[in-house]
Symmetry: D2
Subunit: 339 residues, 4 copies
């Protein structure tokens, strides 16, 4: 058994990691840190884990050595602390944005100046569909952002196949859930204000754009709307390209994902669920992708659970690869219908 410790266990992605660890056949839970919830039980925050663990939060200063360390902290923390954290574990999977970009200049633009830019090279971008081989040898894995995961996996086959390139206009209209905003309450997240919204919260750009452009090589025009949904990200990529045929698209998507355990091409001619939908993948590690084409546009759709394939699930998938376990270990939940 591999011991796995979670830094930042009282947040949403931290809690999801706990759920996955306690249900994982090869992992056992080490420490769970939380500055604000020290000494309280994990289940007082994450009620779904009642009966599954009696762990309590410890202060991050009391961190002990472990095998596998997941960091689920706000942006800015691991950027500073990573050198120290890596002394505690052979493998670190960081769920924040602090090690996702290759180029330190990206941090100046989208986040803050990076205090450990030399370590960016060592970090592998934790999207197995793109970097499975690199993840196998990695000791520092940067799990992708939730909007980025959905967007990249929708666009990747189009780029790989040459259907879309950096000369083409791409509009990315992302629909995001409330949990993607984290666990801190504020007026905008107050239920009476946040319910039933279609709220443009990143009208002309979003930090995750930096990752998307890095990984796809495209310039994307990204907008994020908050909508009524607790979990889930739906990305719609509109690529303004002419004369593409549906069979090329099938070839591109099947080629890219035919062997992937956690990407499904969801495209049907009939039935209620003809394209990807976030609720279908809720609680699962799947990214569903689909597409449609007209004379002068390819529209690609994708859906992930932002807590799962969009963060904690992908982090465990990457850890499984790095540790040599079955890639799907602990990630077997199939999702529900109806839901």
């Amino acid at each position: 058994m591999t011991e796995a410790t979670v830094i930042g266990g009282s947040g949403y992605t931290g809690g999801e990691l706990l759920r996955l660890i306690v249900g994982h056949p090869q992992l056992e839970l080490g420490q769970v840190t939380s500055r604000s919830k020290e000494r309280r039980t994990v289940t007082s925050v994450h009620p779904n884990l009642r009966g599954a663990t009696d762990a309590r939060f410890v202060h991050p200063d009391d961190l002990e050595d472990t095998d596998l360390l997941f960091t689920a902290t706000p942006h800015g923390y691991t950027m500073e602390e990573m050198p120290r954290l890596r002394d505690h574990a052979d493998t670190v999977v960081d769920l924040s944005g602090d090690f996702r970009l290759d180029d330190p200049a990206g941090y100046d633009e989208w986040y803050d100046e990076h205090p450990n830019p030399g370590m960016l090279d060592e970090a592998v971008y934790g999207v197995p569909e793109l970097y499975r081989d690199e993840i196998r040898d990695a000791s520092l894995i940067a799990a992708a952002g939730c909007n980025a995961t959905a967007s990249i996996l929708a666009l990747h086959p189009l780029v790989e196949s040459g259907i879309v390139d950096d000369e083409d206009d791409v509009v990315l209209d992302v629909k995001a859930s409330s949990s993607a905003g984290g666990a801190s309450a504020n007026t905008a997240s107050h239920h009476a204000e946040r319910s039933r919204v279609v709220r443009p919260y990143a009208p002309t750009s979003h930090r995750h754009q930096a990752e998307i452009e890095q990984e796809t090589g495209l310039d994307v025009n990204m907008t994020v709307h908050a909508i009524e949904m607790v979990r889930g990200i739906a990305a719609t990529a509109h690529a303004l390209v002419e004369g593409v045929e549906e069979k090329e698209l099938w070839k591109a998507y099947r080629g890219a994902y035919g062997d992937e355990p956690f990407v499904r091409v969801a495209k049907s001619r009939r039935g209620v669920y003809r394209y990807p939908e976030p609720k279908v993948v809720e609680g699962t590690n799947y990214c569903d992708v689909g597409f449609e084409v007209s004379d002068d546009r390819v529209v690609a759709f994708s859906a992930v659970d932002n807590m799962m394939k969009g963060s904690a699930g992908m982090a465990v998938q990457s850890a499984n690869i790095a540790l040599g376990y079955d890639e799907g270990a602990g990630l077997g939940f199939n999702g529900m219908h109806p839901v």
Copy 2:
């Protein structure tokens, strides 16, 4: 025109008062106070009023004399400040709980010791269906609590007709919306936590019970569940009485409410909407009531919009009566279908 000022205009019931005042044929808006939002526009908080008013919040210390004063403040404020506030206006309608109970002892039990107990006698309980005549002459009106309004209007015909009396067991299972908890954000009200709940938040009693028992003379066993709803209160009263016939109930409800402009008996044999439902009265000043009977139980249902008939709407209805205006002035919205 009568000038109406709102104390506590940045909260939810305060905002609803503003909406009703700016749409009222005989009222014009005076001041709107808010301690925390001073100098900001009203529409920066209540976006529905864009185009309807360019008012800005003023500090409560800057209160000027007016004709009609609505106080939409947290419990405890008017209890202290009412003597001073009444110097500013001939008519005060208080939306807090501070003047609802007749007996000062009730404040010791459910709130805090009342600093102005002598003024409790002067306050009229602002439910027109019970106290229309008293409201006509009132200078201090205490609008009822939202759960109380729904519960009292469901039970009132049963008590008036003698079908239920204080020897009978009555269980009151109330389903409440998130706006009933006010505008302050906290972890429990965070969208990701509050969404889709069925959450027992007042499992064995609720402050509004004091009003309900005062007005009905019954001992009620009250439980409030928070459910997925932004506006609305649904009260289900289970009265354990034997041998009641449906026609007695029709007589009781029609007798009580046949002439009431804002209480509708909602009971149909077929169709989708056979009983009261909160979404049907959303935005309106209606309380819909309905009932069903079995051998040993009468079940009474009611639905109100907690912002309207449950607070601001009822407050305006009472003010209309007190000022001699048409009782329904400014309260003409019929509600929507579907919604």
Copy 3:
């Protein structure tokens, strides 16, 4: 008083017309037809109208002469029946798609061959912001489609000001509510299937595109997603144009809508509601529009209630203009906060 009759009164836009008519100071309700609900009370279908009307549905074959006729029927009906219907009333406002397009060829492409193409010229497209003068003299008004209204009003100032023209790429990503699909139940609309969806239902084109292109002169790349919402349409128009400055946009939007009673520019630097949101305009006749700009893109947002500004509200606004009444008569509801 003008008598107004509604054909197709058991549907959703028909029901909304009834609500507006019974609350209108110059209109009185004539007949309400419904083939399937003949002789049932209107309130058995539209429970919000309890107490407001005791009308019953009549069979469409029993249509009598009236002053003002609203047709809220499925596409295809008035196309055939309009000559006969116009014999019954001086003014007809059609809420279907049957008279919206100027060019009969549009019907061949998007609907069916039009049996009365000669009448298309007589119909005025019922968007007062574009055709107020023409509506004044019109006897046949074709109220716009809900997605089209939202899209056109978002794009109109960009086109008028020359910021966007037909050489520019425009992606239109529309988020739609369930009521926009009408009142007929089917598996896709079953609550357990339809709830919480982000469902691409018009992935690469939508009928309303024909109206949008006709009225804006643009080629638009339109996609419609069904999302969790009962009422409301949110349109996001991504126009790929470079070098536009924010002040030009302010000028364009204020110029277009500064005097419009039912279009509000919703754009704030702070607060929760910084852009248009459908829930803010629920139940109202407002279209809120807003925008944001980056180096190479203008993003325009709009929100309407599809039952109101997107159909019945706009139809009444147009009828008010045609009949010489105050343009906002019967349309005074300001919307709610929170909701």
Copy 4:
């Protein structure tokens, strides 16, 4: 491996069985029948199973012998067909109501006259917490109704401990989700009508009352409200008993469920989740139970996922017991937070 066949696999509980079977370590999927969906893929109806199975529906007339047969059919079907069905499998778990009542007279009252009353004695009521030993030897198991499961598990410790008996008044106010109404679309289930309801749909009694009274020995006053929720049942039992102390209740609930793998006592002094809530158990086989007490009332709360502990999950739990497998096999999903 045990082969498991599902009759009625296109419905909601049928689909949930499929999900559990394909994820079960000792079960393999046999046939899946559906009259209306014959030859279509299972995933065309249940999109969550994409990648997990390529099974197709077969006509029920083509049923072959199998090891374990689950019947997820509308009430009335197995009542007639059970003798024939039992010829096909050694163990049958029936998810309909047709074999839940011991007394044929109950069928006359709540369903229809039972054509195979002699078989009622052979059926074991499939609630492991009450009948684990009987299930071990059973060849016919009648899984309980969803409302019944939640209600019985809330009440059972009160009855066992003698805190509540058949002289006491018990009001059962159940809040139910839309999936509990099945997969067939109708006007009442249409999204625009069903959304955000608090709808009394079984105002004074419900079929499941028969099971509850049979298993608890109490007379219950049951009311079911449909509320905004796709999955889940929340039962609130108000028992009007005086002088009960909290420690007695702890003893009763811990005594009843201390060793139960799928019942958790959810009761905390602080935190957001202090009592059972359906969303916490969504997708899981847990029934969470909790309670609170006042001078003259015990209020017991319970929450289940109606597809899981309320039907398919419980059916698999019972099958595991009957077949000698680990009782929790295939039921390991812990649920999500937030959700």
